[in-house]
Amino acid sequence: MSDVVTPPSPTGSYCDETVLPGLLPAPADNLTDDQRDALWDLFQQIGRCWKNVRRDSANQRSSWLEFITVKCRGQQSYVGEYVNALRVVQDLIETHGLVHAYERLFLNHQFPDGIKQPPRTRLDHAKVYVVNEFIGVQVVAGGFRGFGGPNRAYNYNGFVRGSRYNRTRRVRAYRPTQEGPS
């Protein structure tokens, strides 16, 4: 992670630095390979935290790569947000240690929802624009199947289940024995 960081904020904690709510300006046109790898690690931490994926999210990498590729294009580029998020993660790790850094990022901090309460700090930005969206991607790319045990769903809104003309089942289909209350 140390190869991808920007210099520490001169005003103190990077995470608490106040910024405007809109997308952060991009320092470059695209991410470097190292930054992309570091973001992938952040994405994998979601699966490690909620234990809802197999093979450390390997099955989701292609969906995730497509997601960040399109997010780094055009006028609404997320490059600035991704670079910021990596710096935030580094700051949290330096302050809280590796395990507690992600707990704080994913579970413990009361963040704004990004809509009614816009992000105000760099930590808020990392949560709203990166972590929350990565969670959304993780769930639809297959993470939803990590909930429900043997009764997990076959399909979920956002998951590309596939053609109805494939032999694999798309959904848990109705069987006539299910008509009564369970």
């Binding site: 994913f106 053609s163 109705y174 299910q178």
Partner: protein, 540 residues
Amino acid sequence: MKTLHAEYVLIGSGVAAVTLAERLLQADPLTPIVILEAGNIFPAKDRRAWWDYVTSGKAVYSPGQDLKEEYSVKSNVDWDCEDNRLIAYGGSTLHWGGWSLRLKPEDFHLKENTGQGADWPFGYATLHDYYYEAEHRLAVCGNHEESWNHKRLNQPYPLPPFEWTEADGEMIGAFRKLGIEPGRMPLARFRKCMATGTCKYCPVGARYTAQNALDELRCGPYPFLTVRELCPVTRILMKSKDTAEGVEYLDRGGDLQPVLAEHVIVCAGAYESPKLLLQSHNTDWPHGIGNQHRLVGRFLVSHSILRVRGVRMKNPECWIQEYDFPTLMSRTYDTPEFQRHGKLFLFKNRKFPHLNFAESMIKGRNKTEIEKALQASRIMELQAFLEEKGRYENHVTLGSGQTRWKLPTTHVEFNRTEAEMASADSRLEILKRVIHEMGYKVTESQVDRPGGHHATGTCRMAISPESGVTDPNLLVHGTTNLFVCSNAVFPTGSAVNPTLTLTALSLRLGDHLLTRKGKSPRQITDASPGTQTPTSKESQ
């Protein structure tokens, strides 16, 4: 800018305009057609837009949806002014669910059967074959052998139905115990559907939208098809009392431009169609074109939406909704016996049961907490469209301002009578019985606010001008070449979604226009309906 000349100018770019244009161009690819759309083009099948929709729930076309401030309303039931319609290239099919049901034979004879509302100037038989062709164009997936489909005369759907899901089972059982026949929702989904559950912004274009159809048309061998977006039509130009000359529109620079055409067809929905006729008043038509009997904008019909929600305090099966559309519906109450007090079309709410895993994770719930919430309870909701009958007092007219799209704002006056409200409330009992039979506790039961989502009636068809704005061929009474082709022409709204019927009417109008030109409509399609698939679009 050079004045455009066309044989046909179509106002609006939704399913009616696109279907009509397709029909005319199939007959003669060199037909000069101009399509003018007030709204903007929003990107379709765009990966960034899709991912943004997946993670935020907000579709890229949402800036085209209705805004409350573009309406004035006088209503005793709080008319819904937001998000019903889309002013956009492709129209409201950008956000429709694809539910594609035919009207039933009795719907064409509402007044004859009940003394209320109005009759269509023709019967179901007139639209029967056009419905079949429309189902092929929209790639409707359904089961023609279900009992409510008995009037289809062995016309199979182009594609098989989507199966019921496990989570439909309880409601199917309750339906059967109460003598309600469960059916599979007929849905417009091309073969390439990938069950992404993001139907409102399909990444592959599997749900029919007029936008995708129009894009394909523009890539076709039609050198004289012109489409202009962000070009609101301000008035219809008449060269004499009964003959339209064309239209005037605002170009992107804000200048007024004419399009001269031999035929003007207003395909602008149930609000904008009457508003344009009203806006186009002149010395021959002081109250608006075709408004000699003050019927333009009148008889506004909505669909009352009834909903009953129930909860069960366990979900051991961990059911969640796995499709983004309802697969279960019933037309048991959509029959002649129920016409007098309003037919009901029942369907299971596509959003339940559900747990938003991402939202739970974002809020900091750990896996144990999420699993517990998933199994702790489940919600089911049964909804229904309740048929309304048009009344003169309920109407749409011009507002006093201007919208973002430089169209006049809309003024709606709509009231429900005490009897109508009592009828809607009593119909809720049917839904509650189902929820109770399922073993759920009813937590919510309401009649939703009416709105413009399925508005019809405002330029309704009738044989005589004293009873309607358009004649049986959608020609505005008192004119020779001005037509309306939108939900506005429906004399009745029945209890089902209007889009399939509108598509069928558009095909029929296309044939009528070709007949006027001396062309035989049955020479145009690759196959006659009822024999083989008319188009290859459903195989995409």
